[in-house]
């Protein structure tokens, strides 16, 4: 256990250490300031603008910004959808993969456009290399870029005074991809290749296994480049079906550490950018602290559960719950990964979540149900927690007898409407999806487990899609027309309703005159507010999901004890 603690502490130190310089760098990039990469990448950036025929300096209203996001995402959606349907007749298809079925193509497209990366398919047996690198990898970049862009639109809303403009979407998304995601991915991809992650266009290799001499097919492909962005962009969709539990995606302890860091790096760094952008570092630090507290609590809960609540068998020395885990990662790094991937809206896995102990599995489920706000997705995590901040500010502001305000901007009915949309949609679609699934007559056939654990499998799947996480509990047959279509719709709703609400929230905030701070102003950067925020987050989530959790993991725990 002490080794696990040491590893986990080391991980957190590295995370904080890397996030600070990256955060400052991202702030500069997104506000159009010069950085050390500017000379190298400015021509690339300008080339994009010329190609798309846009003026990067043009300030957009919320309406225009939202419209641009929708057009951009719709274009991406159509492109990927057609690519997946038609991959059979397109090049880079060494294994002769057929086009995907209509519902699977819809689900997969929705999944990657929404930065969810729920995978109802298995990469190595369903997708051509073209679909992987031109389709999915491109969406991995741009969907993360959209998240970061929209976050900055909201942040500008807090900074801008009495102007109805929140920046230019095209410039934001281009800068996020060109200066932040591409260079970081390049570094991570090279490091991954050094560890043995494959990166080629060769056809699958047939080998003879050492253990039993049986013939085995080894899938190949341009994996490293996609794995890097799958983690950095909090996407999570594995190149191979086994995701990061597969040696070709995650061969060593170092690659494991690198990937976990990559998952949380950008969401954590954005908190630093946020503090810098609103010219009050304490605001960023407070949110960082809140996320860190929730993260550490979840980590302790899961690790302890995995280490100590597994069944023990006579004659076998107890080693924690190793079912479904890779021995190279062990209980510690598998628990850490499970928490990291669900805290962030990543969803890649290095162990089988279905095999986690009931309470160990409860925590990743709960982290998703929080709305992916403990670090969360690239951009979306921070704008998600900001909606909770506004909610907390609203209640607390009333309690001190003033119209609530955050960062000097008043929180008024319009803002509350947007905040409520942000908070409302994910739990609603998760619950409704689960409800619809259990009503399906064939539901029993989709499950590998019965009883409370079976319910957990369904709840996990729809919580994962309904919060744009994308991780799978496993054990739930996802590739059915019902789940593909409902899931696809759920992912689109859970991503785009909050996203658009955030843009309009930013636009409305930008138009407001800032209120001067005084002794009567509620501080949003002290311990009490952090505590209140944690309380609000936990209560809202608990009230939404406690009954479902009681029927799932909690009942699972008590019935299998």
């Amino acid at each position: 256990m002490s080794k696990i603690i040491l590893q986990e502490v080391l991980f957190l130190i590295l995370l904080v250490g890397f996030s600070i310089p990256l955060g400052l760098f991202m702030y500069k990039v997104m506000s159009g300031e010069k950085v050390f990469l500017t000379r190298l990448l400015k021509p690339v950036e300008n080339c994009f603008y010329r190609l798309m025929g846009i003026k990067a300096e043009e300030e957009m209203s919320a309406k225009k910004y939202a419209f641009s996001v929708i057009i951009f995402s719709m274009a991406g959606f159509l492109f990927l959808f057609l690519l997946l349907l038609l991959q059979g007749i397109l090049p880079f298809n060494t294994e002769g993969m057929k086009g995907l079925s209509f519902d699977l193509a819809f689900n997969t497209t929705a999944s990657f456009v929404t930065n969810t990366n729920w995978q109802a398919y298995s990469g190595e047996s369903s997708l051509s290399y073209l679909s992987q690198f031109l389709g999915l990898t491109v969406q991995n970049f741009v969907s993360a870029g959209v998240g970061i862009a929209v976050l900055f639109a909201l942040i500008r809303g807090f900074i801008i005074k009495e102007k109805k403009a929140i920046g230019n979407f095209w410039a934001d998304v281009t800068r996020a991809v060109v200066y932040i995601l591409l260079p970081l991915s390049l570094v991570v991809a090279v490091l991954l290749v050094s560890q043995g992650v494959v990166q080629n266009f060769s056809s699958y290799k047939e080998i003879t296994a050492l253990q039993d001499g049986a013939a085995q097919i080894l899938p190949m492909g341009p994996a490293a480049s996609q794995v890097a962005i799958k983690q950095l962009g909090t996407n999570g969709g594995g190149f191979f079906g086994m995701n990061s539990a597969y040696p070709f995606e995650n061969p060593t302890s170092f690659s494991n550490l690198l990937q976990m860091l990559s998952i949380l790096l950008i969401p954590a760094a954005l908190l630093v950018s946020f503090g810098k952008a609103v010219k009050d570092k304490r605001q960023g630090r407070t949110l960082y602290a809140v996320m860190m507290i929730l993260f550490v609590a979840a980590l302790i809960f899961t690790t302890v559960s995995e280490q100590y609540t597994a069944p023990s068998y006579a004659g076998v020395s107890y080693s924690g719950n190793m079912e479904g885990k890779e021995t190279i990662h062990g209980v510690g790094m598998s628990s850490l990964w499970a928490v990291v991937t669900t805290a962030a809206s990543n969803g890649s896995v290095n162990a089988m979540h279905d095999s986690l102990t009931p309470l160990g599995g409860l925590m990743p489920l709960f982290l998703m149900q929080l709305g992916e706000i403990v670090f969360g997705g690239a951009g979306s995590g921070l704008y998600g927690i900001l909606s909770f901040v506004l909610l907390a500010v609203f209640i607390a502001g009333l309690m001190v007898g003033r119209t609530p305000e955050y960062l000097g901007k008043k929180v008024e009915p319009y803002d509350m409407k947007m905040v409520c949309l942000l908070i409302l949609v994910p739990p609603l679609v998760s619950l409704l999806g689960t409800g619809a699934a259990v009503l399906m007559p064939s539901v029993q056939g989709w499950l590998t487990n019965s009883g409370a654990h079976g319910f957990s499998e369904i709840l996990y799947a729809f919580s994962s899609m309904g919060n744009n996480n994308g991780s799978a509990f496993g054990g739930f047959t996802a590739n059915t027309p019902f789940t593909n279509i409902t899931g696809g719709v759920i992912m689109l709703l859970a991503r785009f309703i909050p996203l658009i609400a955030v843009i309009f929230l930013g636009g409305n905030m930008a138009g407001k005159k800032p209120v001067a701070a005084s002794e009567g102003t509620l501080s949003t950067s002290n311990g009490m507010f952090a505590g209140l925020l944690i309380g609000v987050i936990l209560i809202v989530t608990a009230l939404s999901f406690l009954p479902a959790l009681a029927l799932g993991p909690v009942a699972d725990y008590f019935t299998t004890r």
Binding site: L424, L428, V515, T521
Partner: protein, 685 residues
């Protein structure tokens, strides 16, 4: 509009109203309570269906649930009705003042002999009417000729008549008030339906009550929570259906229980009390004799962080008082006092009287027989700026330094430098110097001092703690102003204030993001009043001032501004605290209900039933009984408002979070357990 306690009739009226408000057209305005209402209708239907053999729970249980839900609705209605009741009673007495009277409409402004009698409600803006003693002012207007004492008790509750006269700041009259003496010629400024009295009736009655922005924002949050709970509870049906099939035991949860659970979880406490809190806030303001023209204004008052306060009447007592006699060399203090007293005997102004009082206190100089002195008094005029007395060939004059200087030098006397120095010192210390001269010789200076009101300094300290800045507005010169500002402990001051300077000051603060409140009464205050975020016009003020402001203080007391801020803050705090309480309650209710809710499917979950509730039924019944009773229990708090303290935001939050957050979690645990024990004891479950 003085305070009326809850008498029996208000309560009886509220009881009747609670049933009348069960009309779906009324219920539809409160989405949270609408859910309870629909739940009550639904369970009643389920109860009726049980006679047809369609049963999802025992008929008795369904019936009990439906009765409790109906009571929950009634309690919510009662809360609103009782808050409105107070306003209705006030409106009733106001209405009696709004009689249709015959008005004498003049054909010309000057000739009072030619008029036609018309009904007051047919008067148009700009009509000229004549009102004589004993008659009622037919409609709001501006006095254009005459002066009269007017009984305004119908509106202000104050029985002492006030003077209304043409020109100046006391020219506005209100329809429904009665002339006690003399006559007035009035130009009508409002038509029937839009008069001050009409507006007032509408406001106190709550008819004109529009939901304020903050109330709407809170409503959005409550509706969101309700939607979440609606889905959470509705999904329990498929979830438990699936779970019972998986566990091969138990049954899906009944619709009756789903409805009961939904009502428990929906934020009914705050939902039921939300409108009463708003009405009660308005009511408290009315009790302070302040009339807000909109609910928005009260909320804005809570946000105000800069108060512009007029020096005179708010910070200092209305009148200056003599506090010292400072003689020049060669003159004793007593001599000076004697001369000053003589010159002031006939001076009926408060300042003059204070000189007489001081002379008596210090040297025992008493009133004298004036006829013996054969004195003639010289009255103060704006031209001479001196007053005084001539007796037995003596001349005493007192007045402003400049005026007396001219007088002395004109008499060939010498106005010493020493005297000039004393004058400057007095001014520097915040006082007003009056120079006294006798027979062409300056004797010395009377130090007239502005007396800072008792307790204002402490009050300003409290305001500062809450982050509210106080700024004193005065016509005094900067030197005097600074001295008084320092003594009163205000944060800043505006000296030699002109209407333009006030307006600029307000704009300046607003552009820095502050919200500014001020009071005013004169026509020249109107632009500043219109600019301020919270503008309280004095009822004694001009029509222009009243129209520019968003509140009217019927007592015309400038100190009221501080009370208005308090009422505004208290209103928001009450809303926030009860919302917190309502949501915190849910946590406890979940812990009470969930472990026993799935008992039939997963008996193992009863380990979590650490409250030891008797059964699923008793847990649910206890929770919804608690849910209904807490509404009634909190009505007094909603009407009175949560306790208000002048504390910085952080401390206030800590306090209210502790009481209403933590209290909100603990209270239901205890109450539900007690109700459960009682139910079990009496054998209901």
């Amino acid at each position: 509009m003085k305070e009326k306690s809850f008498d029996k009739s208000i309560i009886l009226d509220a009881l009747a109203q609670s049933f009348k408000k069960l009309d779906p057209r009324v219920q539809v305005h409160n989405p949270v309570m609408l859910v309870v209402y629909i739940g009550a209708v639904f369970t009643t239907l389920l109860f009726i269906l049980s006679f047809a053999g369609i049963r999802d729970e025992s008929a008795g249980y369904t019936f009990t649930i439906s009765v409790i839900l109906w009571f929950t609705c009634l309690f919510a209605n009662f809360a609103e009705a009782i808050a409105e009741g107070r306003g209705r009673a006030q409106a009733q007495s106001l209405r009696s003042a709004r009689k249709d009277v015959k008005a004498k409409k003049l054909l010309s402004e000057t000739d009072v002999s030619k008029y036609t009698e018309v009904l007051s409600n047919s008067l148009k803006k700009g009509d000229i009417v004549y009102v004589a003693a004993g008659e009622q002012v037919p409609m709001d207007g501006e006095v254009i000729d005459g002066a009269a004492s007017v009984d305004e008790s119908a509106i202000t509750g104050e029985s002492a008549p006030v003077i209304r006269e043409s020109g100046g700041d006391r020219s506005a009259v209100t329809g429904g008030t009665t002339l006690v003496s003399d006559w007035l010629i009035i130009r009508i400024t409002a038509e029937a339906g839009e008069s001050f009295l009409d507006k007032m009736i509408a406001m106190v009655e709550g008819a004109a009550r529009k939901k304020t922005p903050n109330e709407i924002a809170l409503q959005i949050l409550l509706v969101t929570l309700t939607i979440i709970f609606l889905v959470v509870t509705a999904m329990l049906l498929p979830f438990t259906d699936f779970a019972s099939r998986q566990a091969k035991r138990g049954a899906p949860i009944s619709i009756t229980n789903i409805i009961a659970l939904l009502v428990c979880l929906a934020p009914t406490t705050i939902g039921a009390l939300l409108s009463s809190i708003g009405i009660a806030g308005m009511s408290r303001l009315n009790q302070a004799n302040v009339l807000a023209m909109s609910g928005r204004a009260i909320e804005a008052a809570g946000d105000v962080d800069v108060l512009l306060l007029d020096k005179t009447g708010t910070i200092t007592l209305g009148n200056r008082q003599a506090s010292e006699f400072i003689p020049v060399k060669g003159v004793t203090e007593e001599e000076l006092a004697d001369a000053a007293q003589l010159s002031s005997i006939a001076d009926e102004t408060a300042e003059g009287r204070s000189i007489v009082v001081l002379a008596k206190e210090k040297f025992g100089i008493r009133g004298r027989d004036l006829s013996k002195l054969q004195a003639t008094f010289i009255e103060f005029t704006a031209k001479t700026r001196m007053s005084g007395i001539d007796y037995q060939k003596n001349e005493i004059r007192k007045g402003a330094a400049e005026a007396v200087k001219d007088y002395v030098t004109g008499k060939g006397g010498r106005y010493t430098e020493e005297c000039e120095r004393i004058v400057k010192e007095v001014a520097k210390a915040g006082g007003t110097p009056l120079v006294v001269a006798k027979n062409g010789k300056a004797l010395g200076v009377i130090y007239l001092k502005d007396i800072v009101k008792n307790g204002v300094k402490e009050r300003f300290d409290d305001l500062r703690k809450m982050g509210i800045k106080t700024i004193m507005i005065t016509g005094d010169n900067p030197m005097t102003a600074a001295a008084i500002a320092a003594e009163a402990g205000v944060d800043d001051f505006l000296a030699e204030a002109t209407p333009e300077a006030k307006l600029t000051l307000i704009r300046d603060y607003q552009s820095k993001g502050h919200l500014v409140a001020m009071t005013g009464d004169g026509t020249n205050d109107a632009p500043a009043l219109a600019q301020a975020d919270v503008a309280v016009a004095m009822n004694s003020g001009t029509q222009a001032a009243k129209e520019a402001g968003n509140m009217v203080d019927l007592d015309s007391n400038p100190t009221k501004l501080i009370d208005i801020v308090r009422i505004g803050k208290q209103l928001l705090m009450t809303r926030g605290s009860l919302t917190t309480f309502s949501v915190a309650n849910d946590v406890a209710k979940y812990f009470a209900i969930i472990p026993v809710l799935f008992f039939s499917i997963y008996p193992q979950l009863s380990v979590l039933n650490f409250m030891g509730l008797t059964s699923t039924y008793s847990a649910i019944l206890s929770a919804i009984i608690y849910n209904a009773l807490i509404i009634i229990a909190l009505i007094p708090l909603a009407l009175r408002g949560v306790k208000y303290r002048e504390l910085p935001a952080g401390k206030l939050l800590q306090r209210n979070l502790f009481i209403y957050g933590l209290g909100g979690i603990i209270a239901p645990f205890i109450a539900i357990k007690v109700i459960d024990i009682l139910l079990a004891f009496f054998g209901f479950v």
